[in-house]
Symmetry: C2
Subunit: 408 residues, 2 copies
């Protein structure tokens, strides 16, 4: 946790134990930083797994192998390396991941495809096999740790540990969801976010777990952006141990499927927001509400054009009600829009309606709103019923300071 804690941070929640999930952390020493940097999660036999991954063409071996492993639908373990993303490291990087999979599979006596590995950190340096082996060996025999310890251990430039808990009743049985996530930069949609791991004791068939996760991803992780940059490693995995004893969910017709899907969606939304709240240099959390678009898809693209605009983000940082920059961002999105039906507002106050500044517009309430930490931008395109919400943070000196001196 090298930086000052984000002013938008949230306290780590109380996440109860989840049957079939055991967390351990250890020191692999990927960097010379005197902290745990390897997280090992052991999962009960019969655990279902689903995942969504970065669309970056230059993805890491971890992402490639993870996609492949998903096909068999079961997971027994997760290993997360912090400090080295192992991306763009060719066959040597791939060998390092396979060595971890083999080591854990031998320990658990399972197929190596049931061992999932994620890595985060600098690009272009092969994950050192010896350090990984030492770290995994240590983790296998460590005492179990807390959710917060695991959340801290998967972090790199994160300034606070991020976790979410939720409960639902599925087929008459109480089920629990617990999740941790890391990420604060190189964050953009299509698969937005960093490394996120969701665990539940609910019994869910892998295919349905994938359906629910993919649907949740579309409205949550794919609707956040910090800097428009898409990591080579972005991964969200969901693991369902089945220990809650409910009849396994196989589709939306299953009893309690809606409740489970709603809980998972809520967890994903909260996780996504936590990543924005730790956006590098962020001082304000911005919700962009787009309505009146030609379609939901179009609304999301307009929202992202606004949320990715450096000029909009610096205006918010400067607490400047510069709605003209929002007009510019709408116009550059390349989506259907009509200047003469466009309305723009901040914090519930319209600055411009139907292509004209509001008569007698009083900037007072808008200026007061912009001084706060939670900012809303309202955009109504006035041409259809499409809508979307996108979340981002402001662009500040802190972002420059962090990123102009990351590796050194």
């Amino acid at each position: 946790m090298p930086q000052t804690v984000s002013p938008l941070a949230r306290p780590f929640p109380a996440i109860p134990p989840i049957a079939g999930v055991t967390l351990r952390v250890a020191r692999a020493g990927y960097k010379d930083w005197g902290r745990c940097d390897l997280t090992y999660v052991e999962l009960a036999q019969g655990t279902s797994v689903a995942g969504v991954f970065t669309r970056n063409v230059c993805c890491s071996s971890e992402v490639e192998l993870g996609r492949t492993n998903l096909a068999q639908g079961q997971a027994r373990a997760l290993v997360v390396n912090a400090g080295n993303s192992n991306a763009f490291t060719g066959y040597r990087g791939r060998e390092a991941v396979e060595a971890i999979m083999d080591q854990v599979a031998a320990h658990l006596d399972c197929a190596r495809e049931q061992v999932f590995v994620s890595s985060t950190g600098v690009i272009g340096v092969p994950l050192p096999k010896d350090k990984a082996k030492t770290g995994v060996s240590a983790a296998l025999t460590e005492q179990p740790c807390s959710w917060e310890d695991a959340a801290n251990t998967i972090g790199t430039t994160d300034t606070f540990a991020k976790g979410v808990a939720a409960r639902a009743v599925v087929g008459g049985k109480p089920v629990t969801l617990g999740a941790i996530i890391k990420g604060s930069g190189m964050i953009a949609p299509d698969m937005a976010t960093m490394l996120g791991f969701i665990f539940t004791d609910c019994a869910v068939e892998p295919a349905f777990l994938q359906d629910v996760l993919s649907a949740a991803n579309r409205d949550t992780f794919s609707c956040i952006t910090v800097d428009s940059d898409t990591s080579t490693s972005d991964t969200v995995l969901a693991f369902a141990t089945g220990k809650a004893g409910n009849v396994p969910l196989t589709g939306f017709d299953s009893a309690g499927a809606d409740a489970f899907a709603a809980a998972l969606h809520d967890v994903c939304r909260q996780l996504a927001h936590l990543v924005v709240r730790d956006g590098e240099g962020a001082r304000k959390f911005i919700s962009v509400y787009v309505t009146g678009a030609s379609s939901d898809h179009s609304a999301r693209k307009v929202g992202l054009a606004i949320a990715n605009s450096p000029l909009v983000k610096t205006a918010i940082a400067g607490e400047d009600a510069n709605w003209g920059r929002v007009v510019m961002a709408v116009g550059k999105a390349g989506e259907p829009a009509d200047r003469d039906t466009l309305s723009i507002g901040f914090g519930g106050t319209w600055c411009a309606r139907n292509g004209l500044p509001v008569a007698g517009y009083d900037e007072g309430p808008v200026s007061a709103h912009l001084k706060g930490q939670e900012i809303t931008i309202d955009v109504d395109l006035g041409i259809g019923n499409g809508r979307a919400t996108v979340w981002t943070c402001d662009l500040t000196h802190g972002y420059i300071s962090i990123n102009a001196d990351y590796r050194s």
Copy 2:
């Protein structure tokens, strides 16, 4: 010229007088800044005009009217307002532009479609008609001014006056080109740049002038980016007075057409570079050379993904040879690429070749290169013959300082 002069600035060149072009400046007082802010250029009868404009859907009335006016191919005057972009100001903004056109047309006894107006500055405030009228009246009777005076007067957040001169021999006649441009932020391709005005005494038919300008735009203004944001007002106009006495150019078969096109292309490239050199907060000028792409179009998209990446631009600002961020940007471009044929270098030194870090890679020469002001990034995709060059600047604290406090 409110900011400290960019460290990448170039001295204003000696631009000779161009027959048929008379420059004048005056004070309209669009802002309370005690400087000339209205530029008036009178053009000889028979002047051809061509133009390229922003693709921003929410473009200004100036852009809409300029596009319409181009149809008749002739220009007698140009008026440039600085301090107010008049964008997103509805019918009131449009009336203000039409009033300027009428006032000048009456003075010159020409069709109002032959009067071109450009405005730059804050969005959403209608251009005040009374100030425009006063400013135009003053300009009509002012003494002619220098190219540098005009270049200064069209500027807003620019930190130095930007101009380019070129000569060519067309059909045995020497012709001169002179050009001025303004722009330092809200700059992105598809039509990249701000307000640029090119003048020549060469005789060129309007349709061919448009062909030459459009072709030059594709490889110059459309290949620069400062912050990925596309202005609502971006305009480049070319005016050819025909006073050089050459046989009018009608196509590439005309004698001297190649020489003229090459000179115009060179002027556009230099103008585009000057805008990047005045990029808000810029301290380094970055050339991104992309080769081996599946097509030239694809190469340009990859180049722009790199040039628009905040993480790449902050790494350059930090003089950090973080080629992993270039890998990331290539991967997110959404263009054909293969991690295992990708090569990345800085300043002529390869850091990674064919998907692997270079064996025995010595960061020394790269680090030395990054300490300079003129940075090159080389990317070879290794899958085809497509190539493109894109220019940008680094992303620094200066950008945040300028944009988080622009309007106040």
